[in-house]
């Protein structure tokens, strides 16, 4: 079995499993005042400090959520509501068109139900938002911008965004910028404090932690209107009893992901390069999606674990089926809920022809990926592409 869908979810690190199971049998609500509550609270706060440390943030800037989707919703809706409440003129939301659906659909919802004006920022052929594009969009009327949201790195095609420069532009106009850093955490140097972002989303199960836990990194001066109302936990921004075992495990996974980031970029990035070479050798007309350059100190490039291809004349679903039958697990893009494949909004935003956009495959590597996984792809991909092409586009 070659599991190459780590961007969907990656196996939990043994250390995280250990931290989680150690907490599962311990009683204590972190909001309780007695000894059990204090003990739980200590576990949570230590985890918060660990996460803050791994992400270049202050502990008070870590707002724990049920995952990336919730953190994205809280950032987008909560900041919109708060900014509009402070000044009713602020109704414009600037978003990249290549965002994950957790952002994109939240933005869309604001447009449909909250009177927001949605403006999608232009991207280049790699799916990248340029700072000048953000500047131009804000300058059209700096006073009516509620927030901007641009992901740190794209989950489908791996392109890394110039977050620092985008944040600088936003800061010039006092516009809060949110970034979904779910894919970036563990793969790129993600330093919330240095980024200039107002808010940033991370998720547990993408970095070797458990499902159902994530965080919104939130600058202390921001008070988004809550999406979840209740007991007032998490700075009164996100109510709900904290999941102590998940929080503890997330912190362990986050710490290790940050510590191993150089190793990951080098080793897993190296395997990714081998995979790209192997696919190109077997299917010379395959088109690599996103920025082909590696991420580095001077280049934005692409995520080290991402390899995204378009195979002309093939249906991505057909390729997926053929590879799945041989134990190779990858994806056509990001997972789709209805099960009916639609051309990826990311590819369409980069100007890819809709028919071509149906023939995509995303391989995403992770901490358990081995050379044998790459060799399995190298062996299978050529015949699979040939066969899928003969099946054509239905």
């Amino acid at each position: 079995m070659a599991y190459l869908d780590h961007a969907a979810t990656t196996p939990m690190l043994p250390e995280a499993v250990e931290a989680m199971t150690a907490q599962l049998t311990v009683v204590g609500n972190a909001s309780s005042l007695h000894a059990a509550g204090r003990r739980a609270r200590r576990t949570v706060e230590e985890a918060r400090e660990t996460l803050a440390d791994a992400l270049g943030a202050r502990p008070s800037e870590v707002v724990l959520t049920s995952g990336g989707t919730e953190a994205d919703n809280l950032a987008v809706k909560g900041l919109f509501w708060a900014r509009r409440a402070a000044d009713p003129a602020r109704i414009r939301v600037l978003a990249s068109p290549v965002e994950h659906h957790a952002v994109l659909d939240a933005v869309h919802w604001l447009g449909e139900h909250e009177g927001a004006t949605i403006e999608y920022l232009p991207v280049d052929a790699y799916g990248r938002v340029h700072p000048e594009a953000l500047r131009a969009a804000i300058e059209r009327n700096p006073d009516d911008v509620a927030l901007a949201t641009v992901m740190w790195a794209n989950n489908e095609i791996g392109t890394v965004m110039p977050i620092r420069q985008l944040a600088d532009v936003a800061a010039e106009f006092d516009v809060p910028l949110h970034a979904d850093a779910v894919q970036a955490f563990g793969q790129l140097p993600v330093d919330f404090g240095a980024s200039g972002l107002a808010a940033m989303t991370v998720s547990g199960h993408k970095v070797g932690g458990p499902y159902g836990i994530g965080a919104l990194l939130l600058g202390r001066e921001y008070a988004p209107v809550p999406v979840l109302h209740g007991g007032g936990q998490e700075r009164h921004v996100r109510s709900g009893t904290l999941d102590v075992p998940a929080v503890a495990a997330f912190a362990v996974a986050g710490r290790i992901a940050a510590e191993r980031r150089d190793w990951f970029a080098r080793e897993i990035g190296g395997l990714r390069d081998e995979l790209i070479a192997a696919v190109r050798a077997a299917a010379p007309d395959a088109i690599l999606g996103g920025d082909p350059a590696p991420a580095g100190p001077d280049t934005l490039g692409r995520l080290p674990a991402n390899a995204h291809f378009t195979f002309p004349g093939c249906e991505g679903d057909s390729l997926l089926l053929l590879l799945d039958a041989q134990g190779i697990e990858c994806s056509t893009g990001s997972a789709c809920t209805a099960g009916v494949a639609q051309p990826s909004h990311v590819l369409l935003a980069t100007g890819t022809d809709p028919d071509l956009a149906r023939g995509t495959l995303r391989f995403s590597l992770g901490h358990t990926t081995t050379r044998a996984d790459i060799e399995a792809v190298a062996k299978a991909i050529g015949p699979a592409v040939e066969r899928a092409r003969s099946a054509g586009l239905s």
Binding site: D317, S318, L320, L321, L322, D324, A325, A338, G339, V340, A341, R387, A388, S390, A391, G392, S394
Partner: protein, 376 residues
């Protein structure tokens, strides 16, 4: 002395079409249990894949797709959703509308089997390396002594669905698998089998409707598509008896809903005898005038070689109809059929399927009917 084991049945790569209903789920489970390498696929056929109807029946909803996926997970087979909505709209839905518009009565399930399940789906399956497409239809594919494939009625005549498969040709049959066809069983027993296999669809209601007409209101669907087109309802002599709001809303043999004020001279009920899209009239008359003794049918499709010369067969004229003896002959690509006994309510556009015993010989689309008067 040890017994020489029988040669195992060839392990096939089977693509099981799973609608989300109980029959196709059990069919997929049986194919897997027989040792085949089975992959489930749900066909997304609705133009709007987001449609979600509570308690929906048919094959076009997210709920059905989930039910199918759930069944595949329990069976332990891979599962995919394939979007064939464009092909389905072109080949089945638009054909359905056009046929009604032309005053004919189509059977969309037949069309779907011919153009979608055993064409678009089968072709893609074969290209991807599958050997066969399995469905939950009740019918049997039998290979005769010479290796020719034959389509036969299901063991259980009450469940038989060979009529809607009568459009399949030899090549399509060669790659068709009907794991339920040899079952003499009641629906309750299939449900019990589903239950035993842990399939949650065991209790799901049957689908009877046309799957792309969500609420079962065919007239409403057609009216929406074709608009109002008022015309005359006339008797056999051409005398106007009333008006209609669209000739497509009528089916030959229909008695109810004619809304004619004046009763027939003999006081007997009147039936739709003819629909003429050209003058937009609906002709009604006495039940005897519905009697048909001959018909012609076009676009014949044979399950094997076309019969040479005239022959005698039994014919089935609708999905849940009985059999009737006929003589038939193919002349210049048109099938000429004579009934031994008059039959009633035969509408152009319907399929006639010819049988030789339980074997399906072929099918054709009814083009014209020959009517005997009461005196004939």
């Amino acid at each position: 002395m040890t017994e020489i084991p029988a040669a195992p049945q060839r392990r096939l790569r089977v693509l099981a079409a799973m609608s989300g209903g109980v029959d196709s789920a059990v069919a997929a489970a049986r194919a897997a249990e027989a040792g085949h390498d089975v992959t489930g696929v749900h066909l997304a056929l609705s133009a709007n894949p987001q449609s979600f109807r509570t308690g929906a029946r048919g094959c076009c909803t997210i709920e059905d797709s989930r039910d199918a996926r759930r069944a595949a997970d329990v069976i332990g087979i891979p599962f995919y959703v394939w979007d064939l909505a464009d092909r389905f709209r072109e080949d089945v839905v638009e054909d359905f509308v056009a046929e009604y518009e032309a005053g004919r009565t189509p059977n969309p399930c037949l069309r779907c089997n011919e153009k979608i399940k055993f064409a678009a789906l089968l072709d893609k399956a074969l290209a991807l390396g599958f050997d066969a497409v399995a469905t939950g239809h009740y019918a049997q594919v039998v290979t005769d002594a010479d290796g020719n494939r034959e389509l036969h009625r299901a063991s259980d005549m009450a469940k038989d669905q060979s009529y809607v498969l009568g459009v399949l040709d030899d090549r399509q049959l060669a790659h068709a698998m009907f794991p339920l066809g040899d079952t003499v069983t009641t629906k309750d027993e299939i449900r019990a089998e589903a239950e035993r296999r842990g399939l949650a669809v065991a209790k799901k209601p049957d689908s009877h409707d046309i799957c792309f007409i969500a609420d079962g209101d065919t007239q409403g669907f057609l009216a929406n598509r074709l608009g109002r087109a008022e015309g005359d309802i006339v008797d056999e002599s051409g005398t106007k008896l009333g008006t209609h709001e669209g000739a497509y809303g009528y089916t030959i043999g229909q008695r109810k809903g004619l809304r004619i004020g004046t009763p027939a001279p003999d006081g007997k009920p009147r039936y739709v005898l003819d629909i003429s899209p050209v003058n937009n009239t609906v002709t009604v008359g006495p039940v005897e005038a519905l009697d048909v003794t001959a018909l012609t049918a076009i676009k014949p499709r044979w399950c094997g070689t076309a019969p040479a010369g005239p022959g005698t067969y039994t014919a089935q004229l609708r999905a849940h109809g009985g059999e009737t003896p006929v003589s038939a002959e193919l002349v210049d690509g048109t099938l000429h059929v004579t009934f031994d006994e008059p039959v009633r309510g035969v509408a152009p556009g319907q399929a006639i399927v010819l049988y030789d015993g339980t074997r399906v010989v072929g099918s054709a689309t009814i083009a014209t009917t020959g009517r005997a008067t009461a005196a004939a």
